[in-house]
Structure formats: structure tokens, C-alpha cells
């Protein structure tokens, strides 16, 4: 079981060059829960995740882990607590599944130690959780998109961190694989207590899989809370600028947003 951590951001401002994409966002990541950051394109949700996961330095504000500034924690030590799967990692050509997953062990190895029994166990465990054990000796190039994504998540799992950030882990995947990946991440959270923070595109999958939602609009955090409380037609209108109806998802009981376009709306004529 993982430990409980207090990961928080205080009034962070971040962005690129002169454009500040994130404006004074303060938040506390709920420990041992699944949090999802939602928002429209270019609202800064990816930048927020990058800033939290130390890929982008905030221009001002503090990000702390258990009261310590993350910029002051030695990078390898931090990498044993906070893991990260960015949006478009590079696959070295010809690399095998086991080799790639094994690279997640880097922060646990010292210059001289080499591979220990613990490392092999962690890699085997990560591959088992992601159901890729039988693919271990395959080349990544031979795998489907869904399998590849499972391999990448397994690499992040091999890192054995208590907190895991994922930037759109389901992008470019068919709906079947999206659900599969989100189910596996939920397994991880329920069984190991891993704190998961991710950016997702799909509001309904977010509402179903998140324990906690952070909604961004134009770089500002406008609403946060449990999906049942915060996902309303007003919020969807607010962040996406889309008229919709929110019903109870008959499968999961979570909120489900049904968009209203200009056509195909019962009893109404198109404008």
C-alpha cells in the first residue's frame, strides 16, 4: 500500500515565453484518489499537469510535497514518489517491452548498484498489472496502440511511485482501449492506493472514473470537487461553452453530459 502525501500548489503562475497560461492556481491533490483535470482545448490543463509534474517551472508560486518545495527535493528522490507519463514519449527503435518497462527503475538504482532482485520484481509486477507479461520479449514496434500505452503505463508503474501524473493517457485510442486503460488505472488506485492525477479529454469518462474533478477555464481553476456535485450543465456551459443536458449515467450512476447541437434536437427546429 502506498503512503499518504500532501501534494499542493499555491498560487502558481506558469506559461511559455510571455504568455501565462496558468494564472494563480492553488490546489491540493486528494491523496490516494483519482483526480482528473478537465477543460476546453488550450485552457491550460496540460500546462497545469506539466507544472505540477515538474516539466515546466512555475514563474511564481510554490509546489510542495509534504511541505517541501519540489524544486528543492533531489530529482531522483522526488522521482521515487512522483511519477509521470507525458503525452508523447519517444520509443527507441528496436526496444523490447521488458527493456522499456525496466527503464522505469532508474530512480531506484545508484551509479554502482546495477539491477537488484527488487528491480526485477518491480518490473514483473508492473507488467502483470498491465497484462503485458506475455509480451515481455516483443518489440514495441509490433504492438497495437492500446498495448503500447499499457507498456508505457507499466514503465511508470515500475517506478513504484505513490503519486502518478498522466497527460491524456487515452488519446488516440479506440473507446475499448480507453475504457481498458482507465479500468487498469482504477485497479491500481483501488488495490495499491496510488494517487492518480490525469488530464482527460472526455468529460463523461472523466465524470465516471474521477473521484475528484478540477475544472479549468482560461488558466483559472473555476470549480473543484466530486463529479456528482460539480458536473452540471452550468459547468459544462462554463468551461466548454456548450449547451447540454446532464443526466445520471444508467451504468455507473455518475453524471453524464449529453450535448445539444443545432440539429437533431427533439421538438425543436434548427435555427
Amino acid at each position: 500500500m502506498t503512503q499518504t502525501h500532501i501534494f499542493q500548489a499555491e498560487e502558481i503562475v506558469a506559461g511559455y515565453d510571455n504568455k501565462m497560461v496558468i494564472q494563480e492556481v492553488s490546489l491540493v491533490i486528494p491523496s490516494n484518489k483519482i483526480s482528473v483535470i478537465i477543460g476546453a482545448n488550450a485552457c491550460g490543463k496540460s500546462t497545469l499537469l506539466k507544472t505540477l509534474s515538474r516539466l515546466t517551472k512555475p514563474v511564481s508560486g510554490n509546489i510542495t510535497l509534504d511541505g517541501k518545495l519540489i524544486s528543492k527535493i533531489p530529482s531522483k528522490q522526488l522521482a521515487r514518489v512522483v511519477g509521470l507519463l507525458p503525452q508523447s514519449p519517444i520509443v527507441p527503435e528496436g526496444i523490447s517491452v521488458a527493456d522499456l518497462v525496466g527503464r522505469g527503475r532508474f530512480p531506484h538504482q545508484s551509479l554502482l548498484s546495477g539491477w537488484t532482485k527488487k528491480d526485477y520484481e518491480a518490473v514483473a509486477e508492473a507488467m502483470r498489472i498491465m497484462n503485458i507479461t506475455e509480451l515481455a520479449n516483443h518489440n514495441i514496434d509490433e504492438l497495437s496502440g492500446g498495448q503500447r500505452q499499457r507498456v508505457w503505463i507499466a514503465m511508470a508503474l515500475a517506478q513504484q511511485t505513490d503519486i502518478l501524473f498522466l497527460d491524456e493517457p487515452t488519446t488516440f485510442l479506440d473507446i475499448t482501449y480507453q475504457v481498458e486503460i482507465l479500468d487498469l488505472l482504477t485497479d491500481l488506485n483501488r488495490k495499491h492506493g496510488t494517487t492518480i492525477v490525469m488530464v482527460l479529454h472526455d468529460i463523461n469518462l472523466s465524470a465516471r472514473y474521477a473521484d475528484y474533478i478540477f475544472a479549468l477555464r482560461q488558466g483559472k481553476l473555476i470549480v473543484e470537487g466530486e463529479p456528482l456535485k460539480v458536473i452540471t450543465s452550468t459547468l459544462v456551459k462554463d468551461i466548454f461553452g456548450l449547451d447540454c443536458m446532464v443526466i445520471k449515467d444508467p451504468v455507473s450512476g455518475s453524471p453524464f453530459a449529453i450535448p445539444k447541437g443545432r440539429y437533431h434536437v427533439n421538438n425543436e427546429k434548427a435555427p
Binding site: Y16, D17, S53, R54, L55, S75, K76, Q77, L78, A79, R80, V82, G83, L84, L85, P86, Q87, S88, P89, I90, V91, P92, E93, G94, I95, S96, D99, L100, R103, G104, F106, P107, Q109, L111, M155, A156, Q159, F165
Partner: protein, 325 residues
């Protein structure tokens, strides 16, 4: 397995390098020259002369092989070689300046100039490549290296062309040769080689993480900027010192790393040390070939590596998909 084959090849290389040359000697003479200091035949002395040359070409090849592997890992560019960071040109410029303005003519003086030139150029290229918010990305490093290299080589020409004596001296160095190596050169060179190879071996796990992209590497706790700097300095040390003593020898770094990657896969913990072996083999074989082809004189090894290196690399690229980083 690969290791055993490499060592057998290495042994064969050493033997042929001792035996073959403008003057052929038999195995018997090689043994005499190596193990019987009393033997005083002409052939035994020829063999003794070739020992330093062989040792130097092995070390130099190892340095170039590891340097190539490091540079490819740092820039995440499979066709990176010492010339990509502008290191060769920087070294050349300093050597030319030394010849032209300081009247320098021995290899042991070249080495410091070439190293300084290589290091300053690498730092300069690294500095330019790191400008901007995203830091030293591979593409920016490659561009900065190419631009710097072009600027520096025109400087080299500008200094050299009006001075014919510089040209003569420089041209021999520029082609690349291990023939003039003596034990002094080797002892000057060895510390650089050792430090460089240690740097390479210790940074291999972090470079493995870097191969997955800067973001993943950062997530794994790698300080990408620091790692690039250290690994690039290691590469500079290796290739700068090799270049100083033997002149710019191309293709060895490129070829040795690619061959190893094709055989061993992308794990740099194996590719880096094995590139030292393959580099040593390739350079020594090239040197032997140069002596055979050029007989009764000899062909400088830089010419030979270019001649075998280029077509083999093209073949490799076409036949087997060259594994990128």
C-alpha cells in the same frame, strides 16, 4: 557471446596489425618481437615498432567509438558523430592557430590545443542550443553544431590559405593518421581515454532514460541539462584527445555504435562499452588495410575509414533499418 567474438576479433586485429604492413613479417617474427627481447632480426624490430602503433590505434578507436555513442545519445540523433557538435572543427581551428601563430609542431602540444578547441566549441554549441525555454533539445543542438562547424571551418581556411607552411603541416594532421604514434603520445592520451570511458559508463543508465524523451527522463529523476553537459564533455574529451593525436578520423564513431546497436539492441549500458571494442577493431583493421593498400608506402587511416565507412554505413542504412535512438 558477442563479447567473446569481439575479443577474438580484437586479438586477430592486433596480430595482423603487427604482422602486416609495408614490410611483411611472419608469425615467428611477431613472437620474436613481442616476447624475445634478445631477438635482433630486422623483422623483430619492425614488429616492435608496430606495437606502439597498434596500441595507439586500439585506444584511439575505442575513444572514437565511445565518443560517437555518447554524442548520439546526447543529441538523440542516430547520425550524430563528433563533427555534429562541431567538436572536430573546433579542435582543427585551435590546432591551425597553434601552427600558424605559436609555431607548435608536436603532438603533445596539439593535444591541449585540440582539447581546448573541442571543449570551447562544445560549450559554445551547447550554450546556443540551450537558448530559449525548452532547453537543449536534440534538434537545436544539431543545428547549432552544424552552423558553428560551418563558421569555424571557414575561419580555418582563412587562417590557412595565406600561409603555405601551415597548410603543409596541417594537411598531414587533417587527414588522420595513427602511424606517427609513439609511447609518449599513448601515455598522454590514456588518462583522457580512461576518464572519458568512465563518464560514458556511469552516464549510460541516465542516457537510457533520456532516450525515452526529455519529459520521461525528467519524470524518472534525470536532470537532463546536467546529464547532457556531462556526457557531452565526456564525448569531447574522448574525441578531442583522439583528434589531437591522430587528426580528425571520421566514421569510426558512427560505424562502431551502429554495428553494436544492430547486434545488441538499444540498451546503452551494453552499447557504450561494446562500442569501445568495435571502435578499436574498426580503426585497427582500417589502419592495417591502409598499410596493405598503400604498400610500399601507406594510406592514412582517416582516408581508409572514410572509404570503408561510408559505403558500409549506406549499406547498413538500406539493408537493415538503422535503429534510431
Amino acid at each position: 557471446m558477442v563479447l567473446v567474438i569481439c575479443f577474438v576479433l580484437l586479438g586477430l586485429c592486433m596480430l595482423t596489425s603487427l604482422a602486416f604492413g609495408s614490410r611483411m613479417v611472419g608469425l615467428h617474427d611477431v613472437i620474436d618481437g613481442l616476447f624475445h627481447p634478445a631477438a635482433d632480426s630486422y623483422e623483430a624490430n619492425v614488429v616492435r615498432k608496430r606495437i606502439s602503433r597498434t596500441v595507439f590505434s586500439l585506444l584511439c578507436g575505442a575513444a572514437l567509438g565511445v565518443s560517437g555513442a555518447l554524442m548520439q545519445a546526447v543529441t538523440r540523433n542516430p547520425i550524430a558523430d563528433p563533427s555534429i557538435l562541431g567538436v572536430n572543427t573546433g579542435a582543427s581551428l585551435f590546432v591551425v592557430c597553434g601552427i600558424a601563430f605559436l609555431n607548435i609542431s608536436t603532438a603533445n602540444q596539439y593535444i591541449w590545443l585540440a582539447l581546448a578547441g573541442a571543449a570551447i566549441t562544445a560549450l559554445f554549441v551547447f550554450g546556443i542550443g540551450s537558448l530559449g525555454r525548452s532547453g537543449a533539445t536534440p534538434i537545436k543542438l544539431v543545428l547549432a553544431g552544424a552552423a558553428t562547424s560551418a563558421a569555424l571551418s571557414s575561419l580555418v581556411m582563412a587562417i590557412m590559405i595565406p600561409r603555405s607552411y601551415v597548410m603543409d603541416q596541417f594537411r598531414f594532421w587533417q587527414v588522420g593518421s595513427v602511424g606517427s604514434a609513439n609511447w609518449d603520445n599513448i601515455s598522454t592520451f590514456t588518462p583522457f581515454l580512461l576518464i572519458g570511458i568512465l563518464v560514458a559508463i556511469f552516464s549510460a543508465p541516465a542516457l537510457n532514460a533520456l532516450a525515452l524523451g526529455d519529459d520521461v527522463a525528467t519524470g524518472l529523476g534525470v536532470r537532463t541539462g546536467t546529464l547532457r553537459l556531462i556526457a557531452a564533455l565526456g564525448a569531447v574529451l574522448l574525441c578531442g584527445s583522439a583528434t589531437a593525436l591522430a587528426g580528425p578520423i571520421g566514421f569510426v564513431g558512427l560505424l562502431s555504435t551502429h554495428v553494436m546497436r544492430l547486434i545488441l539492441g538499444p540498451d546503452l549500458r551494453f552499447v557504450i562499452p561494446m562500442s569501445a571494442l568495435s571502435g578499436a577493431i574498426i580503426l585497427t583493421v582500417s589502419d592495417v588495410l591502409g598499410r596493405l593498400i598503400g604498400s610500399p608506402g601507406e594510406l592514412e587511416v582517416g582516408v581508409v575509414t572514410a572509404f570503408i565507412g561510408a559505403p558500409i554505413l549506406i549499406l547498413l542504412t538500406m539493408k537493415l533499418k538503422v535503429r534510431s535512438l
